[in-house]
Amino acid sequence: MNIVVCVKQVPDTATERKLRSDDKTLDRDAADGVINELCEYAVEEALRVKEAHGGEVTVLTMGPSKATETIRKALAMGADKAVHLVDDALHGSDALATSYAMAQALKKIGFDLVILGSESTDARTGLLAAMLAERLGAPQLTLANKVELSGQSITIQRLTDYGYDKVESTLPAVVSVVEKINEPRYPSFKGIMAAKKKQVQTLGIADAEIDAAQVGLAGAWSEVVDFAAAPPRAAGTIVKDEGDGGSRAAEYLASKKFI
């Protein structure tokens, strides 16, 4: 089984995140890069599928050269090898362009199962898995909190507002996982050492047969017109509970017509 797990490097949410003033894209140098947390669940699920059904886990990351730190983390968790899609021409790609570039890379790599996180913590679009399924003509098994394989068929529990849907398809398929589907493992010391020797193949846009006109800032389908720091919220009223805190809160809610 050929399992590809898509892993993204994102700016640490604990640090201040910024947009660049020159081209209005995310400033990836301003903040420390970390693995997108939801991608850790994706890596863990990929490793579990491999452990139960055999095969190989390939990490696919699109991002600047510093994203190799994140690739090493996924390799240290136990993935077998990695493909790093890296090219200056990709800078500024929006969701549509990213899905195109990633789909081209996936066609090169080949797959039975592609696993993604449900969302990235920087752009938070939650679009990529559905877009990849559309582009690859593969079944969309997204928002999974449980994944089961049997031969060539795969079943997931797809989280919904009312509970979940049980969804079935055949392989190859595109899966995205939600938080808490599993408990991602910590890389062991041995894993970290082994990761240093694992193969990381780099692909440029020509290698992946990506049309330069469809990616990057110039090829984007959407643009940031302008941006500004959110004005601070007007200072609120803070009261200390002197035994009447609940009543005073009720008064406030009444004054705002909530009750």
Partner: protein
């Protein structure tokens, strides 16, 4: 006036509030056309859509549309984008709404904007990013603008539309039939409104202390007709189910009123609630960062404040 497609969200044939919001928003930008995708269409539904401004209602009430994950709805919308050449397509920014938007964008070669909290002339969208720290204006530059709008971004206003009905048949492709829904499991959710849609949300955090104590939060929520949310500390501890988690890796809510009890207000929690119109916080630590956002804060023990607040609201009803 440009035609604007609005994908209808419904539960068991009943139109959801977010659709009325989207129709109201569409009305301010052009002529709204509601798109009904799936079974359960009725005269009541049509009346409701027209009441909130739908000039047209496209009806594709085939059962098959609901039998497969997302792809059929994207195919239907793509077909309508082709035939009607609308000015824009609006969907609700729910997890599924965004997935539909994503597939539609690929199919029609159009840009897509997610989590808009407002939409103005030229379909320029307002977005709030990085946990509410930065406000962005963005727009689609190629194709038909596809915009996923957050629930509670616009107050629904009834303004009658013509409501002309048009039946649509969509021949699903094989690839739209690839991921089959074989069973729907409805978990008990009681009478509370849905978290993402609710006008009021009451959330509990680590300060609540246990699963049993969440009854306090639920009781306050019920007196307000609110949904219940939780911080990750509370869902991680197993005190409240994960689907109610608010924040960066949970749900994003944008209610009229958000009440946080025993929640410190970490950046990752704020990412999911910072666009709430009014924020009330109850926390015993006066230094808790949640007070930086609060319009009204009570420094005190939630086990005293919450029951008193609940009782006082009951009295005033």
């Amino acid at each position: 006036m440009a035609e604007i497609l609005v994908l209808v969200e419904q539960v068991d044939g009943e139109v959801k509030k977010v659709t009325l919001e989207l129709l109201t928003l569409a009305r301010s930008l052009g002529s709204p056309s509601a798109v009904w995708a799936g079974p359960g269409y009725s005269a009541d539904a049509k009346a409701r859509l027209a009441e909130y401004g739908a000039d047209k209602v496209y009806v594709a009430d085939s059962a098959e549309i609901a039998d497969y994950v997302v792809a059929p709805k994207a195919e239907l919308l793509a077909q309508l984008v082709g035939s009607a050449a609308p000015g824009a397509v609006l969907v609700a920014a729910t997890a599924e709404g965004k997935e539909i938007a994503g597939r539609l964008a690929v199919k029609t070669g159009s840009g897509v904007i997610t989590d808009a909290v407002g939409l103005g002339e030229g379909f320029v969208a307002d977005q709030s990013i990085f946990g509410g720290g930065v406000n962005v204006h963005s727009r689609v530059t190629r194709g038909t603008p596809i915009v996923a709008v957050r629930p509670n971004s616009t107050a629904p206003v009834a303004t009658a539309g013509a409501g002309a009905e048009e039946q649509v048949t969509v021949a699903l492709s094989d690839s739209a039939r690839a991921a089959k829904i074989v069973e729907r499991v409805k978990q008990e959710k009681g009478a509370r409104p849905e978290l993402a849609e609710a006008a009021i949300v009451v959330s509990g955090g680590r300060g609540v202390g246990s699963a049993e104590n969440f009854a306090l939060i639920e009781k306050l929520a019920d007196t307000l007709g609110a949904a219940v949310g939780a911080s990750r500390a509370a869902t991680d501890a197993g005190w409240y189910p994960h689907q109610f988690q608010v924040g960066q890796t949970g749900k994003t809510v944008s209610p009229q009123l958000y009440i946080a009890a025993g929640i410190s207000g970490a950046i990752q929690h704020r990412a999911g609630m910072q666009t709430a119109k009014t924020i009330v916080a109850i926390n015993k630590d006066s230094e808790a960062p949640i007070f930086e956002l609060a319009d009204y804060g009570i420094v005190g023990d939630l086990f005293k404040v919450v029951p008193q607040l609940t009782e006082e609201i009951e009295k005033r009803k």
